[in-house]
Symmetry: C2
Subunit: 226 residues, 2 copies
Amino acid sequence: MGYPVFAVTVDLVVLTVREGDLHVLLVRRGEEPYVDRWALPGGFVREDEDLAAAARRELAEETGLDGPGGHLEQLASYGAPDRDPRGRVVTVAYLALLPDLPAPVAGTDAAEAEWRPVGALGLAFDHDQILEDGVERARSKLEYTPLAAAFCPPEFTIAALRQVYEAVWGESLDPRNFHRKATSTPGFVSPTGGVTEGEPGRPARLYRRGDAALLNPPLLRRRADG
Amino acid sequence: MGYPVFAVTVDLVVLTVREGDLHVLLVRRGEEPYVDRWALPGGFVREDEDLAAAARRELAEETGLDGPGGHLEQLASYGAPDRDPRGRVVTVAYLALLPDLPAPVAGTDAAEAEWRPVGALGLAFDHDQILEDGVERARSKLEYTPLAAAFCPPEFTIAALRQVYEAVWGESLDPRNFHRKATSTPGFVSPTGGVTEGEPGRPARLYRRGDAALLNPPLLRRRADG
DNA sequence: AGTCGTTATCGTCATCATGACGAGAAAAGG
DNA sequence: CCTTTTCTCGTCATGATGACGATAACGACT
C-alpha cells in the first residue's frame, strides 16, 4: 500500500506573564529555511516518542523547566502542503503556560531565545497563525478553568491572579469584584493560611490553585458585543 | 538531516441526532489490522493535500454530503507510537456535525457503514478515545456557540433545536426557558417568517441559524456539581 | 360545532451572579 | 500620628436563570 510520508514536528506556544504583559518564548532560527528569523520553539518527533512526550521534551530543552505550576496541552495541528519548503511537514502545536521564570531560558540549547510581548511578530513558517491560535486558546481557557494559576508561582495572592487575567485578556478588572469571584467560586483557589510580608499596603492572603477542573460558573470576559 | 517518517491520516467523528439520540457514523474495517471491527471513517492524507481538505474529502466520500448546514472542525491529533501496528501513524481527528441525513450513508465507498448511538463501543485503534473527545467537544461547543443548528435542517423550530441539546447533553431542558433563551440571545437564531404545518399542536415558527460566532451569554449545561 | 389533547409562546416570580462603588482593615513610610 | 497603599468586606441595582402558571393555536374526535 502506497501512501505519502510526512515529517512530524511539535511546536510550542510558551506563554508567561512578565511585567503585566503576556509574553511568548521565541527562538532565533540557526538554519535554513528562515535563517535568523524568530520562530516558535519546536523540533521533530522522535522515532518512538509520543506527541505529548515530544512536547514535554522540547519544553524542557528550551526552558530548563517543565515542573509543577505550569500547564501543557495540545493546541492544534497544521499541515498545509507548502508550510515548509523542505517538504511535507505536519506540526502538532502545544500550548504551555508557565510562571515567570527566575531561571534564564534556553539553558541547554545554543540557539538564541527570548521572551517577546505577543502581538504582530513576523515569525517563520505559519507560526504567526499558531501563536494567534494559542493566545486565543489561553484567553478562552482562563474563562472556564482555574488555569490562570499556571502563570503564577505555587503560592500567590488574589491580586497576582487578577493581574494574570488583565495581562492575558488585555483589559482591567475591578479588584473587589474579582476578589469576590475568585474566593467564592468552588475549587478556584484555596487559601494556604500564609500572608505576604514586606509588600506595600495591607498584607494579602496567599492561595494555591484549587482542585476544580472547571470554573462553575465561569469567569467571562467582556465581549466585544454583538 | 535524518528524522523519522510518519504516515498521516485524518479520522472523522461524524455526529448526528437521530430519534432523540446522538449517533456517530462508523465503518466496518475491510482489512488488517482490526479486520471486521468498527472504526471511525478516515484515510491517508494525500501528497499535496491540506489536512482540512483531506477531512472534507473523506466526509464527502463517506456521507455523500458536506453541504451547508453541517459543520467541520479540527478536533485533536493522536500519535502514540503503538497506536497502529503497521508503523508510525499520526492521525488528525476532525469533528463533523450533520443534520440527520435523508440520503443513505456510504454512497461511494463499498465498506459497510452505519449510524450507532454513542456510548461504550469497542472501536479499532484508539478510536474510542477519539470519539469520547469528539463528543465532549460537541457538548462543550453547544454551550458557547450556535452550532446546535448544524444538527438541524436549514429551517427548524425552537423545539427541534432544544431536542438537539437534550440529545447531545443527555438531559432534558424546560421548553419555556429554552425558548426564551434561544429567541433572546442575539445571533442565536433568526426567524424566517414561516411556520410549521401539519404537525400536532400549535404551529411553531421556523428559524435559521443566527450569525453569531459565540453565544453571549452562553447556554450552560447543569454541571455535576463541585 | 364543541371538546379534548397537544404543543408553542408569553408572563411572573424568586434566586443567583454580576458590575459599580463605598468603606473599613492593616500594613509601610514619612 | 498621619498619609498612602492595598486588601477585604458590604451594599445596591441590574440582568440571567430555574420553576412554573396561563393563554394561543392547531388536529382529532364526538
